[in-house]
Symmetry: C2
Subunit: 387 residues, 2 copies
């Protein structure tokens, strides 16, 4: 025990410069070089396709992550909540797309953001959504910037491009009240890539989604309806883009900044590109049941992946012979895959790094991310949360 | 849109006094009368058994909830993390038991809490844990207050009371270094009640755990080892206590302040005693796939319960004909159980209340809890988080 250590404060700033092994556990740690590499590779991939990259920030929800992902421009992001919208606007970001169908109770905050920013953009997927905007014009000659949300097979929000009402809705957005609303583009999320078994299957979904979006844009143009932008998203599709995607104007993946076990299984990344870990310590040996106990439970990891077969919620880095078999709020239980656990290799107090199944869910559990380089903490990232 | 509304702030204080239906969604809401009733019933149950109640605060992590649960004394709680320890100590609480086996890297903060509080209590379940404390005496004549953690069938942390080393460890805590360490009592968590199918099965586990704890205490007394306290916990066992539990000195349940769907299924509470809901709104109708979309995803609910059969992560209050079939980060998908969804009953913008499967997990997702009475927000509770 270091009597000189300041134990009266819980400020994570005191860990700047500390070796990773000294961090209090559980702790979310990010490999700086890997995060930067992931950001750069996605930017390069988009450059090569001539696509604008609009990083979705919902995975990390940090100014630092979004600054990296935008290459420092702080322009052009997608957010999943109004809390993110407020946070990133206050943090100097602009051209923010609120990637959730806008609702009546969102409008006061959306209007405030639209007034504050050069470009605050909204999704609409129903005539009702458009009507709301028409009834609530922005002051000062500003217009609501609207993306028509298309459902190209993901079966969540969105209007199907094959639905005759989709064309009508696009026409109404573009022409129905040009002094109040502008059609910025069409937006599709190919979340159905997460159901794929391999890269070719992901690419089939990406190709189908792209074609559906582009066919819809072509029909709009044939009718003389201006629709400048077209975007699709999802980390699996954007990690192995198909050539057809170069005909879009932008893409909006998010998870790729961290990647995770699920993305590795989908083929989105190589295992060595996953930048996120939960650092944990062995807190007990229970040889009578051949288990180690860790100080990482679902409170630090989430239960995502539990029902997806081995290795479940997390893999244990460097130790494929170990598996996480149980998670309660603050405890994790570990066994050897073959039942024979070599306790001497894992003394109490030793650290293990868990590779989470779903980075978005794990990141949501942590008030701070410890970014490391050269084995030391070099940055702290502070996410926003809530709604 | 109310132009006079202050949309520049995200302070939840502006919602004090507001009708629930006006809250931004998703929102964690707590029924004040139900929370108070749950607190009072558990206190009454313990009074009737002559037991001290040491509420575990890990479910809610709020000063307000802990004040209620302690009947306003702010004395005698269990915490699951050092972050909770710091938070509750700073909030005026004392007699705090850190209910996680103490580790070397915990000691600086534990020492600070022990110096600050009249009673900061620790768990030890191994000779190594005791040795740590011996090597790190508290200054000023204070002693580490140690509870021996017993594993009476839960198979997580703890030493088995039937293990010959358990008696040796208790003896070493009580006598090995009396100027440094004091044996406060024995502590068991009967988390294995969560695997039970009904109240009699829960009571069997509670009875077995109580008997094992008491038999161990009897052996200690036979050897002249003072062990003043004995406690067991878990909301299922304490919601239907068995008479044998009156021979303990205290109990430490936590979830009961809110209860949830899982506790209802276990028989711990009646459905009308569950105090927690996630308020959400219908954000879209998708008749071609017979689905409603809600603005509540796993970010506001967690995925706990997904793999536990219907109704999964949450029930939809008052609408047993509906079920939640999908959760992504910010979206929930709802179908009719019989496939025939009456969309007119659930207009876009209407609110629904979700009864979460696991209150501890759902509460962990929210930065603020909106406490309501008479249909209006009357209090805001602010949880701590992290480690």
């Amino acid at each position: 025990m270091d009597a000189g250590m300041d134990t009266r404060t819980d400020s994570p700033r005191r860990w700047l410069g500390a070796p990773l092994e000294q961090l209090p556990t559980p702790a979310l740690i990010l490999d700086q070089a890997k995060v930067r590499g992931n950001a750069e590779r996605m930017r390069e991939r988009c450059r090569a396709l001539g696509l604008r990259l609009r990083p979705h920030v919902k995975t990390h929800k940090t100014l630092e992550g979004a600054a990296l992902a935008t290459g420092g421009t702080r322009r052009g992001i997608a957010v999943s909540t109004l809390a993110e919208g407020r946070f990133f606007a206050a943090g100097g970001f602009d051209d923010i797309l609120f990637a959730f169908p806008a609702q009546e109770w969102h409008l006061p905050e959306c209007a405030a953001l639209a007034r504050r920013l050069q470009a605050f953009q909204l999704l609409v997927d129903s005539p009702r959504g458009l009507e709301l905007l028409r009834q609530n014009p922005l002051p000062g000659g500003k217009r609501w910037l609207v993306w028509l949300k298309l459902d190209c097979g993901n079966a969540r929000a969105g209007i199907r491009p094959t639905d005759p009402e989709a064309l009508e809705l696009a026409r109404a957005i573009a022409r129905g009240c040009p002094e109040v609303v502008t059609l910025a583009g069409v937006y599709a999320h190919c979340g159905n890539t997460y159901g794929c078994g391999d890269i070719p299957a992901v690419q089939d979904v990406a190709r189908d989604t792209t074609k559906a979006v582009l066919a819809f844009v072509t029909r709009l143009r044939q009718e003389g309806i201006p629709c400048p932008e077209a975007t699709i998203g999802s980390t699996p599709s954007c990690s192995h883009p198909v050539p057809e995607m170069s005909q879009l104007t932008e893409v909006h993946p998010g998870n790729y900044l961290f990647y995770d076990l699920q993305q590795t299984q989908l083929g989105s990344c190589r295992p060595e590109e996953v930048a996120i870990r939960v650092l944990t310590r062995v807190v007990g040996h229970y040889p009578h049941r051949r288990q180690l106990l860790l100080d990482c439970g679902w409170a630090a990891l989430s239960l995502h992946g539990r029902d997806r077969g081995p290795p479940g919620c997390a893999a244990i880095e460097g130790h494929p012979q170990l598996r996480l078999v149980g998670l309660t709020q603050e405890h994790g239980q570990v066994e050897a895959v073959d039942g024979e656990l070599d306790f001497q290799r894992f003394p109490v107090g030793s650290t293990l790094a868990l590779i989470p199944y779903h980075a978005c869910a794990t990141a949501a559990m942590h008030p701070v991310y410890f970014v490391h380089a050269g084995g030391k903490v070099v940055e702290l990232w502070h996410p926003t949360r809530g709604w």
